[in-house]
Amino acid sequence: MSIAATDHSLAGDRLESRSDREYRRALQHSRTVRRLKIALPVASAVLILGFVAVSWVSSIVPEGVVVASTSIEDGKLVMHRPILTGENGNNQNYELKADRALQDLTSPNLIELENISADVPVSEGVTAKLEAESGLFDREGETMTFDKPFTVTTSSGMKASLQDASIDIKGGAMSTDKPVNIKLPEGVVDAQSMRMADKGNTIVLEKRVRMTIDPKAVEDSKTTQTAN
């Protein structure tokens, strides 16, 4: 079983800003990390020379996280442009990107994230893009808690704006007891609390639910049906 050599030489020297190149290198490494996760148990001790420089960082950084660069600031490991990857219940990949991730070395499983952009699988064919100012990611429990307002946009045309929430990434569940605003293709929904259950297939809104349906949505169904 040979470890596939990862080619570290950058293809040509296209004009790229330093951070883009770093970012691309980080992406390249996340694939490497994933491959290594599989290869390590079997692989021989030989590590590819180009990879060694990064490997000591990934040993102190929690698994499944790849960073562009790290620094230690007042007792915290600060990771720049981290990419957290993992799989949820029905092995759909999720990917969390952030500007910065801070990890208190005394509790390595908890990671504070700043300016988060996450692609969370909701159900077959539907992914949700989540953007938040800040969040606390529990690596072990694979949960994410948001204390500040954030938005979730799904590929099926829904955009939810929430004040806070706790998300079980593995189970694909989310809940909040604060007001929620959801824009759907058919209209707008407001409620005082929201739960997203069974992997995003069910969204439950409670307490003073208000929905405004856009008459165009009613009109469309009439024209499309009478056509055939």
């Binding site: 909701v122 159900s123 064919g125 539907v126 590929s155 099926s156 045309g157 829904m158 759907l184 293709p185 058919e186 209209g187 929904v189 409620a191 995003g200 297939n201 069910t202 969204i203 439950v204 809104l205 409670e206 307490k207 003073r208 639910v209 208000r210 929905m211 405004t212 349906i213 856009d214 008459p215 949505a217 009613v218 009109e219 469309d220 169904s221 009439k222 499309t224 049906q225 009478t226």
Partner: protein, 155 residues
């Protein structure tokens, strides 16, 4: 035996948005259903529909989920249905609004339609939401009409 009337309130007033309120809403993405439960109130223009339960069946446009162009196909209401328009009210046990065929059907042991001071009682009220023609059927029995004596003189 049926009574024909008109129910302009139920015409699909395209320009006005539909407001829906309820205690709870459950959106079932996979089944394309939105289930409103508890003090459900739907309002469009001066037409109001109230019930204990309402299920909105919608479909996303052409290629399924991702296109996002959600359209409403039909709405089922049950648990004490009360429909009120500017000039009429109708109460029933359950009802279905088919947005595609533009028909509304209210059914129940006793469907009570009031129009001004007149009260009509039947078992099924069918409304063509396009033409707003409404038909109250008695399903076997007679449509009992309670004409208010005062209203007869004014006709």
């Amino acid at each position: 035996q049926e009574t024909a009337t008109r129910m302009p309130g139920l015409a699909i007033a395209n320009d006005q948005p539909i407001q829906i309120e309820s205690d709870k809403l459950e959106i079932k993405e996979a089944e394309k259903r939105a289930i409103f439960t508890g003090n459900v109130k739907v309002q469009q223009g001066d037409t109001t529909l109230q019930s204990g339960l309402m299920v909105v069946h919608y479909k996303n446009g052409g290629d399924g989920m991702t296109s996002g162009g959600g359209d409403i196909e039909s709405i089922d209401v049950s648990k004490k249905v009360l429909l009120r328009t500017a000039t009429q009210t109708a109460s029933a046990d359950k009802g279905t609004f088919n947005m595609v065929r533009e028909t509304a059907v209210l059914e129940g042991e006793k469907v009570v339609l009031t129009q001004g001071d007149n009260i009509f009682i039947g078992c099924r009220l069918t409304v063509n939401m396009g033409s707003s023609e409404a038909k109250l059927e008695s399903c076997g029995g007679r449509v009992r009409i309670q004409l208010d004596p005062k209203s007869r003189q004014s006709q």
